[in-house]
Symmetry: C2
Subunit: 888 residues, 2 copies
């Protein structure tokens, strides 16, 4: 016997998601739980993979197995595929291991042809219904399987409607629908050169192949890139006997969540439509009804449904996201899966389920996606202020966003990539818009509900969304939308508030979010579990205070170059750089000293005795100087237009100095400790400012600052030895002068591959190391971030050459390997050396988990990412204990 | 008993160079061989190190031990230091482990004061001699120990000479010399505030301390940097009883080599002066006599000397470099050491000594400094052509050099660092000129012999030198020199030929050197010993042929970008880059294809079946485009001066494309395989050109080229997987079309740290790896070569932060570590993978030896370096067998 490619629902279970896909595995699970699902079977993901690997050919044996399970299905239902009297109709749906809503293809009503349509008419006693199903099938089959442009069918419908003099599709008569069926078949033949396949078994094979192929389609690939899903998984195909929600007012279809996926509140949450089929609810074409209203309209179905929902939640110990259809009052479940949710909902559900005794504290911590937590910490509108609201829609995904209005996904993608903040404004979004949604700050639709495509996708991405704001009239052609008297053109700035559903003209200043008690509970539980410290990267007292509110246990990176960049200081900094002697340079540094000291006093006070790691000046000096090309163009302009010679001379003097400091590759040039070694007076000034500030704060507050001085870009132990000597000399002098016995530590960044492989020697002169994984990524991969992102790195991501952006998620195999080498070498030589990370990776969940596994003592990240890092650090511990994070 | 700091000559041996310095160890060795040396003792290098470490304080016990050994010396000589009747006079000389000629200080005639000078007068019966010795001592002591400006003494002598109405120093009367002694003491007191120390024991302590300090002097430090000598060794101090070469015509002093150090010929080679002392010979103040002439003038001394020389060579089994003095006909050896020699001499001596049965073949191979071999391979003047020779001096160091005339070392150093080729022209050089000599292409002196400072140093450095060209009249003040009617100003270009001693006005085209049979013998012996292959880096058939002459066993790196840069091709390359579609780009590539194919055919033919590794296009595209700033200035100029709008538009179009390709850090940008992945048509064209060329050459010559295609800048295995697929597709197509079964291999550069640490995975898709250690050094160290050399790296070298330039000698601890990691990982996965190096390190001896130790299969270097690499690869094997290279 060959490989098994087909499983009946009775043969599957929820543990078989890899083989049967999420949908198939859960249909099997529900069937086995006694929950009503239509009869059907699942073709495995392996069949899909083999189909692709073998040049789009069905694997041997698949055909026979489909025949076998189809025969069994016909037996169970008592119907036969293509039967002219009692035809079996099936849906053919994709279903991958990880949910990819709307990304792949579905065909409904399969099995209809010119004979079986009559059987359907007699089965249902409704000829109009039967022909409507037939034309829908041909339309969907044509579009999905035979790849005919969908608009051609829509145009044919319009022609038919006009001919019949009616306004809506459902007013078309059976005769009109028959004509439409004929017209559709003609379109199909004209466009593809092949006639519509009337053999239902051939229909089935073609549909299965189309679903297999949709795994490699552009939309699906884009989605997988964004969600980091492997290309190797393949999709399963579910063949399920049709049930009809469009057989009258006691039939219908709907989607629901077992709790509110936006807020997490335990309540009835969903939408339904009576006399509707399939995608009608999420497509947003008809106005949906709230599920709460079903209790009155269809009490029996409502009771059955809520019973099933309760059963599912108890069984899965999770909030479930379901699809259902009821046919003449009988309920069928078409799908269940763990529901996607906002971060706020995730937090509330985790805390509530712990309170309800459903899950443990560790599971609660494991349940919240640390990456998603970020959205809770994004800025929002100030709830205490009044705004001039021009429209209100559904609060589909919380948080606020400000950006330029754009009307199509391509523009959103292009401008977003170019660094513009844009808001995508659409009537409704579809899976075709995914690339624009990824790049937009938020989305505003004039149509669609809480479960519409835009709403679901935005919540998953943690982006603000306002949906169904139906006061808005969009004219894509004129690139504008209007609300009453307001006209908003493409490029105008608006603010959307996904928390309230409000739309505001212009940019509004956003305020940090409130952090509620559920949030506090989760991160507090995380703190009990995690073993790594979490610090923050902060250059100002304001950032330092914010980070402390978020639970930062110290500053892991305080950059000093931003202090040099301040408008009132830049002239002095330039004066210092232009100085022709050490003496002149010293004079400029003298002026900077009290300013720097003030900066540090503020930060020490804000951190109130917690450790503060201050990095001495790092960037190349020419970053403080004017642009060379601009200077040369200005000089040429002055020369050609008879400008004053004095001005020309002055500019040429500056140009000469800029030229002498200009570098081919500034990233690999005179920066970091190479500055401090060649011009020690700069570092001496900084160290003096740091220690004088520490002494002053200590005397003033009695709370001794924990000073950690960090030398950047060390590659050779000898560099650090000399910089340590310089630092110790200055510190000792300041402390002796102030009769202070303040302690301080000295360490270095590990941000060059050479530093990583010689970390043992370097550790001789260091009390701590902080891995600068941003620069370490640049040098290890040979990727200049400025030149990679938006250029070849973007290409690499799109083409799947790299799985994720190494500047966001640490490159474990390359950069991670060097970190591990350095950890091993330095701990062997100096077991008590303190090791941390201060690149942006310190605030990205997968990277934080790597840091834990690598044995680092702490991570440091931007203030808003601190809670995320606390959570991720705890989840790293739980993963070691194999309490894995179960994602929605 | 404390540590032993002082050794009598009888207590030492030549194996104690680390402790006693080279000079002290060899004095001891000679004494123990029964060769006449003056009595004396040596203070250890440890004493010097402890003196420095303890803030310039003598270590405990040193004083007592000096007293003890001094007393013994007084006993042995029957004289007493400072004795008014029979005074002992001593010399105090430095002597480090490695010879540093002239770099540290010496004091002669120590022990004289107002009393003992009379004892010396009565001992010698020559008052004039005694007072001349006294004034020389004060002068030297003042300059060296008390650090008084030497010119002050010279001025006083001039005054005295004028007063006496004489022309030369030696015409001064005893009374005149007494006045000079008084004048010198006054100078000393005035300049230092201290009186001349009349206590000889105090004189001795001060002189020892001065020698200790001279270890850390600027000249010595510069010298050590250049020769890679550790700062931690310290110098020994030799205290030796004076013998006098200036006691009449039967006294004298000289220097000699046991063979000719310039040619290697076994002959009498040296200079001497009668009635002269100490440094007079090498200082070049008086015209020296050829040693051969001594046979007639002083047959007994000559016989003794040649006897000693023979004994020394037999004992040391090496060419020796000796200093001697004879006092009233009695010979004393003052020093012996292995003699520095030219590369030509080293080769001849090694081959001769093997023929003479003195050393083994392996020792002969070990004896030739591979680094020095380079000078034999440098261009020289065409010996068959006639040149307009303006002057002829001694052929002091072979090879020819062309450069601008400069008259002082500072200028030579400055211009040399700035990349100018300069010839340092001096009356004579001194150790103060060392920094200028390092940077100059060659040196020309109007004075001094074959053993003068300029000659010795230039030979050691392998730089051409013409010395003692006494037709040349130098006026430093007017910055020019004259020869008869010729006036040569500073900045004028001259050519010097150190092989013949000729000086030529203007630049002369140089030709490659002849390689003689001794040279061929040594590298042929090396080939028998070495296990690593040696290939060459060659981009043209001419280079390929030259490299084969030098013994290259294949091409390890054939760069293709130079082919793109050729004048007639650049417009097509620009056309390709400016192309807005893949189609337009293809059209330009179509034009380049036959040109590239022609290039490769030439190279394959030149290599005649040896392997040829061709690297596909590597540099960033904008390297082929105009400079952005220049373009913008041109546009501004056109705008301001009413230039044609069409021209402005055209330039702005180019500027826009340049801007879009411009990168912050091109080294880390879109280059290497990142080009091939984004624009596969470029690599496809190159692969097609390579394979078509290989097929054509195979059919034409019957000699199948060994094609190796190399992908640059791979960081991810997936990059190589895709590029392998592309390459294989094109190759298969070409081979199928030509019905050829040519074999080819595919590999990659390992030049990114990520590639090194993931080499195991990358090896899945590679038949070979070539370590691109140039770029690997840039990324591992974070050193942009363009921005490091002449800037911070130069500073690092000067300040001793790095011991050698990592772009010349491989950074074993950093870059080397990554190479080792990659070798291990790739060999574990693919034991038969071929591994090589193609950075410039492949032609540098220490790096070649590292490559051998790391287990690489071959190195590849520029054609002229191939023999050097062959030799170094053999020496690496000998070092493993502990047949160490014994350097001069």
């Amino acid at each position: 016997m060959g490989k098994k490619y087909v499983y009946d629902f009775s043969e599957g279970s929820r543990d078989m998601k890899g083989l049967l896909g999420g949908k198939g595995a859960n249909l099997a699970e529900m069937a086995n739980l006694g929950i009503p699902v239509p009869e059907g079977f699942t073709i495995t993901t392996e069949a899909c993979i083999e189909y692709g690997n073998d040049g789009n050919r069905f694997p041997d044996g698949l055909d026979d197995q489909v025949n076998e399970y189809l025969a069994a299905l016909e037996d169970k239902t008592g119907k036969k595929l293509g039967d002219p009297d009692n035809p079996l109709l099936v849906s053919v749906r994709s279903g991958a291991k990880f949910s990819m809503p709307g990304m792949m293809d579905t065909v409904l009503n399969l099995g209809l042809n010119d004979e079986s349509v009559n059987g359907l008419a007699s089965q249902t006693g409704d000829e109009r219904f039967a022909y409507d199903a037939y034309r829908r099938f041909i339309q969907m089959f044509g579009k999905v399987v035979m790849e005919v442009e969908g608009q051609l069918f829509e145009d044919a419908i319009t022609v038919q409607r006009e001919k019949a003099g009616v306004q809506f599709d459902n007013e078309l008569s059976p005769a009109g629908l028959k004509e439409l069926v004929a017209a559709f078949k003609q379109i199909l033949e004209k466009e593809t050169g092949r006639s519509f396949p009337s053999d239902p078994r051939e229909q089935l094979d073609l549909a299965i192949a189309a679903v297999f192929r949709s795994w490699g389609g552009a939309r699906a690939v884009t989605y997988r890139r964004h969600y980091n899903i492997s290309d190797d998984l393949g999709t399963a195909v579910n063949v399920v006997s049709m049930v009809f929600g469009n057989m009258g007012e006691d039939s219908g279809t709907g989607v629901a969540f077992t709790r509110n996926p936006s807020t997490g509140v335990k309540e009835i949450f969903g939408d339904y439509l009576t006399n509707a089929q399939g995608e009608d609810v999420v497509a947003g074409i008809r106005k949906t009804k709230k599920l709460a209203d079903m209790q009155q309209e269809l009490p029996k179905v409502f009771k059955d449904l809520t019973g099933v929902m309760q059963k599912l939640e108890q069984h899965y110990r999770e909030m479930e996201d379901i699809e259902f259809t009821f046919e003449k009052g009988k309920l069928y479940m078409l799908q269940t899966r763990d529901g996607k949710r906002t971060a706020a909902a995730a937090v509330k559900i985790a805390v509530d389920m712990f309170s309800e005794g459903i899950i443990s504290k560790e599971e609660a911590v494991a349940r919240v996606d640390a990456g998603q937590l970020d959205q809770l910490l994004h800025p929002m509108l100030d709830p205490t202020r009044k705004y001039d609201i021009i429209a209100t829609g559904l609060n589909a995904s919380p948080g606020a966003a400000v950006g330029k209005v754009v009307f199509d996904a391509d523009t959103a993608a292009a401008q977003g990539k170019a660094g513009e903040a844009v808001i995508l404004v659409r009537w409704e979004t579809s899976p075709d818009d995914i690339h624009g949604l990824i790049q937009a700050q938020g989305v505003l639709t004039s149509h669609g509900g809480m479960t519409s495509h835009a709403a679901v996708v935005a919540r998953g991405m943690g982006k603000p969304a306002v949906c169904g704001a139906d006061q808005i009239v969009i004219s894509e052609e004129e690139r504008q939308f209007t609300i009453d008297e307001h006209v908003v053109d493409e490029g105008d700035i608006i603010t959307i508030d996904g928390t309230t559903g409000n739309v505001i003209l212009g940019a509004v200043e956003l305020v940090p979010p409130q952090i509620n008690e559920n949030f506090q509970a989760i991160v507090a539980w995380a703190d009990e579990i995690r073993t790594m410290g979490v610090r923050t990267n902060a250059d100002t007292p304001e950032d330092a205070e914010k980070a402390r509110e978020f639970g930062a246990e110290g500053i892991g990176l305080c950059r000093t170059e931003h202090m040099f960049m301040a408008t009132e200081r830049l002239p002095i900094v330039r004066e210092m750089i232009m100085a022709s002697s050490a003496q002149d340079r010293a004079a400029s540094l003298e002026k900077l000293l009290p300013m720097q000291q003030g900066d540090f006093e503020g930060i020490f006070e804000a951190m109130d005795g917690l450790p503060v790691t201050i990095r001495l000046l790092d960037p190349p000096l020419h970053e403080f100087l004017p642009d060379y090309t601009e200077l040369m163009v200005e000089i040429e302009h002055l020369k050609c237009t008879g400008g004053s010679q004095a001005e020309i001379d002055e500019k040429e003097k500056v140009a000469a100095r800029v030229r002498s400091l200009k570098e081919m590759n500034p990233m690999l040039g005179t920066r970091g400790c190479r500055l401090g070694i060649q011009w020690p007076e700069i570092y001496e000034m900084q160290v003096r400012a740091i220690m004088q500030a520490a002494v002053a704060v200590d005397k003033r507050s009695g709370q001794a600052p924990k000073v950690e001085i960090m030398i950047p870009l060390v590659g050779f132990a000898e560099e650090l030895r000399r910089m340590r000597e310089l630092t110790v000399n200055v510190c000792d002098e300041v402390l002796a002068g102030a009769a202070s016995s303040l302690e301080y530590r000295l360490g270095t960044m590990i941000e060059l591959p050479r530093a990583a492989v010689t970390a043992g020697e370097i550790s001789d002169y260091a009390d701590f190391f902080s891995f600068g994984t941003n620069d370490l990524t640049q040098t290890t991969l040979g990727f200049s971030r400025d030149d990679a992102e938006g250029k070849f790195l973007t290409y690499y991501l799109e083409e799947g050459l790299v799985k994720s952006n190494p500047f966001e998620t640490i490159d474990v195999d390359g950069v991670g390997k060097l970190v591990e080498i350095a950890v091993k070498a330095s701990r062997e030589k100096k077991p008590d050396i303190k090791l941390g990370v201060c690149g942006e990776h310190g605030g990205e969940p997968a990277s934080v988990k790597f840091c834990h596994r690598a044995g680092l003592n702490y991570v440091s990240c931007s203030p808003y990412r601190v809670p995320l890092a606390r959570l991720a650090a705890a989840q790293a511990v739980l993963e070691e204990k194999e309490i894995a994070f179960t994602t929605a």
